[in-house]
Each structure stands twice: as C-alpha cells, then as structure tokens.
C-alpha cells in the first residue's frame, strides 16, 4: 500500500528517522508502523484535533501580544536507549561544571587566578552582579534548573549549542506534548517503552525545598511571574499548579526586615524560596533596574541576609554568556577533572586580532551570534545573509568584538514533520532540562525538541515561529520505563457479587438474578 513516507526525501543533514530514503533507523520502527497506515487526511485531522486541545486548554505562548498555541507536530522525535545515557551524563557534567564556575565567580575566583578564564570577561559581562558576591546559597546550588541546548551535527554527533542557567523555559510543553500525544495515539505508547516525563514537578519542588534557608522546617515555595502578559505565562501557571505552590506577581510580595511575605486575605505570610521567572534586571528595583514594576524591592537583600533563596540565583547570567560557553570544556577539565562528554560547536572568540581578521574574511561562511541574545535574536547565518546584512554585521563586530561569537554553521539534524505536502524534513534541536537539588543533578528524560517549521530554517525558537515535537526516550525494557507499581489493593471478596442497584417506580429493584454481564 502507499504510505505517507514514500516521497520523503531527507535533506542535506543527519535525518533522525531515516538512514537514507526508504531505510528507517531501528528506534523509529514502531512509530513508522503506527503512522504509515494513516492517510494524509487522517493525519491532518489528528493534527487539527491536537491544535484544538491546546487552544482549549490554553497551552499558549504570547507572541507580539496575542496568544498562540505552540504548534505540536504529530511525528515524535525518538532517542534510543543507548544514546540517552550519554546525553544525560553530558548534561549533568555540564551543569556541575557551571555550578562550580558560578561558585568561583561569586567566591574565591580560582579559575581566574589560574589564568584559564580572563577575569575581564566577567567584569565586562552585563550579567555579573557584584550585589551577590560572597553570597553562598544555603545548599550551594545556584542553577536549580538548567536547560542545555543540544544539536546533532551532520555526522550524527550531539553537541552543545548553548547553556541556559537563568530562566530556561519550555518544560511545560514537554509535559503537555506528552499528554496530548498519549490522547491522540494511545495505541502507540502501549507497545513502546517510553520514559514518562511527569516526574518533573515533584523533582523541581524537592529541589526548591532543599535549597531553602537552613533554619526553616517547612519552607514555603512560590513561583514569581511577571504576569499574564509574559510569553511563558502558561508555563508559570502549570508549574505552580503541579507543585501546589502559590503563583505570585511582584505586587503580591512585601519585603520587611529582610524577609519576604505574601499578601493574603489573612495578612502576611512568610515565603522562603522563590522560583522566579523574572530576569535579574527586573527582579529588584532597589538593586537593578529602578524602573521595574514587576519585581519586589528588597528581595535581593532578603537573600543576602539568608532569609530567602532565589532560584535560579541572581547573577547566573555570567555562566551562560555565549563567550563563556567557549570555556566550558576547559571548566569541565579544571573543576571536575574529566573530559567533556559532549563537545561544543566549533567556535571562534573575536578578541584575538588574528582570529577576528580571519573571521571577517569569512563572514559569509560562518554564523555570528550576539553573546547576549536570547531566543535566537540577532543571529546572522552567513551563508543565508545578503551583502548588505554582512556589511552591517562587519561594522558592528569591529566596533564591539566582545559582543559577538563566531561559529561554524552546523546543519542541524532533521526529523520528518507534517507539512501541507506530507512529511518533510525540518531541522530540530533538543533542550534537556536538569534539576539540581544539591545532592544530585536529575535530567528529565528527553526534553523539548523544537522544530523550525519553515523549510531550511536553522533557528529553532518559538519566538521565531517554531513548533515542537514530543520527545521519546526509549527504555531498554519495559520495567525500567515505569515507576515501581504499588501492590494491588485486594477487593473485598463480596464486592464481585454486588450488583449495581437500579431502581425507580415501576422498575422494581434488583431482587434476584439481575446479574450484570
């Protein structure tokens, strides 16, 4: 029979599903088997159902002032049982190295004294905050939640594209995508052993509670959101709801005597851990942007006084600066004494005069990234840029070499994605989420696979019109994919003999022999 993948032509990149046209990779066998019998109209129908579910549930992100559902593609991205443990180790290693680095930056500064990283990089970083120097968090954790962006290159090797240790977002879509997929393709999960993703909120809450000031027996945790107009507002509500904690805005908080309180109908209630989804700059008008109206004046002083834990810590931005990124492999060797499990993408720092002239000669063959850009903003992909753009870029780079990083353009791997003309290859990345509770770094199985919906587009970002895919981590066998089951509760013996009562005038109740079949 004809199947929807008959005409599928892989692009000039590593295709996650097909080794070459017509030859699927083993991990995708079952997915393919489930999708092949569906005709395109049926797929469309299910895709529309999926979008409808998201709209009804309010799974949206705000884009340019309007709420949009974050498009979920029907075809999942699969990671097999062999490659996931490596990614997991690589992510954990990276998080631990960044934690050590942050402790060093705001503490003794050994790595600078030993000359591995120039101090000037820190002192010129907009994200270095002297206000938190010498502030050691109660359990030493600064990156409670990290999102490490990975891509797979042309040879099928995963590499780190960037680190996010400030306020990485997107984990809500991981959970919602899985929920939507299990509803749309219930049969698919029955025969697959896919690691579940619903453990995240409990892990996050445990990590937040573990980071509370030491003298608090039963810490109160709150999620701090900029408010309903923020792009990630849906995620903030989801996490608060699933952790069972308050979702607060700056105006709900009061600082008094270096302690933070929530304004309730019964007066003030102390809060001990704030998982904030507000950038440093807007968090505390006393210390940072004085015009900010979404933060809470005094919150940083409360943290300095040891009465409050702010997660993620203030000042983490020095560690996920794109220039610092180039030093992370060094940090892994320096702090952990290990070789990096995951490599960076080949990158060039522009501070060296030789390097910058070499880069300026090759602007049309490199990717230039502003070191401070978030969400794919300001990235120039040389091979795709016109002459005027490159000329403007050249001037900017010469003026501010500290503000830019050059990288080899990597052709991101592709996964078949549903388009109006059937499945077609679209570039993807992967953002695994790691939670550090101070004892261990737990990595959520899989993570967020973002897909660039326009053909050939290499920037995968929701703010650039991206979508996402459900990400499956296959378990080696069924038992390892499932939580241990509770022993079944034995029914009382008589229960099986009780018929369901029926009644009402004229029907007579079940007196005898009315067995339910």
């Amino acid at each position: 029979m004809a199947d929807i993948f008959d005409d599928y032509q892989p692009a000039a990149a590593w295709d996650e599903m097909f080794e070459r046209a017509g030859v699927p990779r083993a991990a995708y066998g079952p997915v393919l088997a489930a999708l092949q019998p569906l005709d395109p109209a049926e797929l469309r129908f299910r895709a529309d159902q999926l979008a409808r579910v998201f709209t009804d549930r309010g799974v949206t992100f705000d884009y340019a002032g309007e709420e949009r559902p974050f498009p979920l593609d029907l075809i999942p991205r699969v990671l097999d049982a062999l490659e996931w443990p490596t990614l997991e180790r690589g992510v954990r290693q990276r998080v631990l190295a960044l934690e050590s680095f942050l402790a060093d930056v705001y503490g003794p500064g050994e790595i600078f004294k030993d000359g591995l990283v120039p101090w000037r990089l820190i002192s010129t970083s907009a994200h270095f905050h002297r206000e938190v120097s010498g502030l050691t968090p109660p359990n030493g954790v600064r990156a409670h939640i990290s999102g490490i962006d990975l891509i797979r290159d042309e040879d099928g090797r995963f590499r780190v594209l960037e680190d996010n240790v400030r306020t990485p977002s997107g984990v809500s879509y991981v959970m919602e995508n899985r929920l939507a997929m299990t509803r749309t393709f219930p049969g698919l999960f029955a025969e697959q052993h896919v690691h579940p993703v619903d453990e995240y909120p409990a892990r996050l809450l445990a990590a937040l509670r573990a980071s509370a000031p030491r003298d608090v027996a039963d810490p109160v945790v709150a999620v701090l959101t900029p408010g309903v107009g923020n792009a990630a507002y849906f995620e903030h509500t989801l996490l608060a709801r699933l952790m069972g904690v308050e979702l607060v805005e700056g105006r709900d908080l009061i600082c008094a005597g270096n302690r933070v309180y929530i304004q309730t109908t019964q007066g003030r209630r102390p809060v001990h851990v704030i998982y904030r989804r507000i950038d440093d700059a807007y968090l505390d008008p006393l210390h940072f942007n004085g015009g900010s109206v979404i933060g809470c004046p005094g919150i940083v002083n409360a943290a300095r006084a040891g009465n409050l834990t702010i997660a993620n810590a203030v000042g983490n931005g020095v560690a996920d600066d794109k220039l610092i990124y180039t030093y992370v492999p060094e940090m892994i060797r320096y702090y952990l004494g290990e070789e990096p499990v995951l490599d960076n993408v080949e990158s060039y720092r522009l501070e060296d005069p030789d390097v910058i002239s070499w880069v300026l000669d090759r602007l049309d063959r490199l990717v230039l990234k502003p070191v401070d850009g978030a969400g794919g903003k300001g990235i120039v992909i040389g091979p795709h840029a016109d002459a005027a753009t490159l000329e403007a870029l050249r001037e900017t780079v010469v003026r501010d070499p500290r503000g830019w990083l050059a990288q080899r353009p990597v052709s991101l791997s592709t996964v078949p994605t549903l388009t109006d003309r059937g499945p077609a290859p679209r570039h993807v990345d992967l953002r695994p989420f790691a939670v550090n509770d101070g004892e261990d770094v737990w990595v959520l199985p899989g993570g967020l696979t973002r897909v660039a919906l326009p053909e050939g587009e290499l920037v995968v970002n929701s703010s650039q019109g991206g979508g996402s895919k459900d990400t499956w981590v296959l378990a080696a066998d069924r038992s390892s994919a499932q939580a241990p089951e509770d022993p079944p509760i034995p029914l009382p013996r008589t229960f099986a003999d009780v018929t369901v009562p029926q009644g009402g005038p004229g029907h007579g109740s079940t007196i005898e022999g009315a067995q339910q079949q």
């Binding site: 507002y233 709801r241 904690v245 105006r251 709900d252 109908t265």
Partner: protein
C-alpha cells in the same frame, strides 16, 4: 483555612463570580425581553430598548435604538464588562491569572466559552439571538456546576460564591426595577419570573396566577428559591461569616457583613402585604448594599500594590 489566600487571587475570584453571573443574568433578561418585542412588534421598540439599556447600566444614547443596537451593546460588545461578551472575556482573563487555584475544568470552561463566542454570535445573526443567549446560559451553568463539583470549599470558593451572590442581588434588583417605569414595554410579572428562571418554581408554589404582590415576594423574600434576593443575601452573609468568624460577643465589626446582614434582616421581617409600596425604596437599598459590601470586601481583603507593565523573559 489556616493560611490566607493571595489578596489578588481572592479579588480575581470574586470578580470571576460576578462576571459569570452577570453574563448569565444579562442573557436571561435579554432573552425574555427581546422575545417579547419580537412577538409584539406593535409596541414602542425604541422605548423598550431604552429602558432595557438603562437598567443594565449601558447608556442608550440619543439616536433611535432597536433590537440590533441593544444586542450589539449588551450582548456582543467585548469592550465593556457590562455586556455579555465583555463580561465573559473579563472572566476568562481573570481565570487565566488564577489558573493555579481553579480546577483545569473550570479554566477550560471559561477559555472554550470565550473562544466559541464569535461563532455563536455569527450563528445568532442567522438564527436569532436566542442561540447565543442560550449558549451563554448553558456555559454559565456548566461553570457553576464544575466549580461546585471540583473546588474545595476553601477561601477561594467563598470569594467566588460571594461575588456571584452580590452580582445576583444587583441584577435581580435591576430586573425588578424594569417594572418601575411606566414605559409601554414594562414587562409583565410573568416575564420577570421567566427572566429569573423562576417561572416554573413560582407556579408550583403559588399556582398559575401572576399576582404582582406574590411575584415580588417570590423574587425578593422566598427562602427556598435559589435566585430570590433573601436566599442570596443569606448565602453571601454565610460566606462572609466563614471568611471572618467574628468572635465578639456583641455586634459585628465586619464592615462587609453589616450592610448585608441589615438588609437580610429587613427583608426577613418585611410584611409581604406592604411589599409593593416599599418596592422602589427597597430596590434602591439593594443597589446601595451591593456597592457598599463590595467596597468593604475590597478594603478588607484586596489590599496589595497596583498592577503595572510586563517585561519579557528569555
């Protein structure tokens, strides 16, 4: 109930209660009145529409108005919370900002309703306003049912019910005052009953004679009918008592409870025979009570800094 509810959330829940009830009651009132006007095109439509607008708090303006104007201003306009669409939009926006305290089903109900309104309005343009108005009533009922079935009876619940109660008192007072002006479209008493969803209940209680005194008494003083003012006042008072159990041995210090309690007492001991003479003054008192109680609740429970603007996160 040991730890308080966020003041902002308490306020939002109070207003979700008000807005959903407002949409529901407005739909009921419009449904009955428009139906009557469509049935009797001989009457003075302009005056009827004016009375309706004025009662529902939307100034009728100077030009001639007809049923279309009334619908667009009181039903389809999403720019003002006095209209159905605006009230449902405000309820949905509120719901979005208290997602973590209401159940997902309640949120989805508000969200889906808001998404569907446009389609329903278009359907109403083809099939008549009843399609739209009935949908609104059904969704309001669904919301109440879901709240009833899925919300813990904690502070949040009491603020939601309090908001709904205050709005219901206010709307019933507005509905009854429609009877006041001697306009040609002054609704008859049976219409008032229908617009409160009380017609069948009334008939079972008092038989099929729409005696004005009995109808007014039913809508104001009946202890068992859930939309009667006395019933709702009692409910609101109970909510306030749960929110702040007053331990004092004499008197009540709760500024929100006092106006509600006073009015309830007055209604309980009103002589039903005198009700019609007292009606104008009583309706004014009802409106004042709603305003005073809302202010007092806000003063007491909704104190926090004011909202401002957003910034993006990366």
């Amino acid at each position: 109930m040991s730890t308080g509810l966020l003041s902002r959330i308490a306020e939002t829940l109070f207003w979700i209660g008000r807005y959903v009830e407002r949409a529901d009651d407005t739909a009921r009132i419009l449904d009955v009145h428009l139906h009557r006007m469509l049935e009797e095109p001989s009457g003075d439509v302009d005056a009827g529409c004016r009375a309706l607008s004025a009662i529902l708090g939307v100034p009728p303006g100077d030009g001639r108005i007809d049923i279309g104007t009334v619908l667009s201003r009181l039903a389809y306009d999403d720019g003002t919370p006095s209209a159905i669409a605006g009230a449902l939009q405000a309820a949905r926006t509120g719901g979005r900002s208290v997602r973590e305290v209401i159940s997902t089903e309640m949120w989805e109900c508000l969200n889906v309703t808001w998404h569907e309104l446009d389609d329903r309005r278009r359907a109403a343009e083809r099939l008549g306003p009843h399609v739209f108005l009935r949908y609104v009533r059904e969704r309001a009922a669904l919301f109440s049912g879901l709240a009833d079935a899925t919300m813990s009876r904690d502070e949040g619940w009491h603020f939601l019910v309090l908001g709904r109660s205050v709005e219901r008192i206010d709307m019933t007072a507005r509905l009854l005052s429609l009877r006041m002006p001697s306009a040609s479209y002054a609704p008859d008493w049976s219409m008032l009953l229908r617009a409160s969803g009380a017609d069948e209940s009334y008939i079972r209680t008092h038989g099929g004679t729409g005696e004005p005194r009995l109808v007014a008494a039913f809508l104001l003083l009946d202890r068992l009918f859930p939309r009667s003012v006395l019933h709702v006042l009692t409910l609101a008072e109970d909510c306030l008592a749960v929110l702040d159990p007053d331990p004092a041995r004499a008197g009540f210090t709760d500024a929100a409870r006092r106006p509600i309690g006073r009015l309830r007492t007055r209604l309980e001991y009103t002589d039903a025979a005198q009700l019609l003479e007292q009606l104008p003054e009583l309706l004014t008192a009802l409106q004042h009570t709603c305003v005073r109680a809302t202010e007092a609740v806000a003063d007491k429970y909704f104190q926090y800094a004011l909202p401002v603007a957003w910034e993006q996160e990366g």
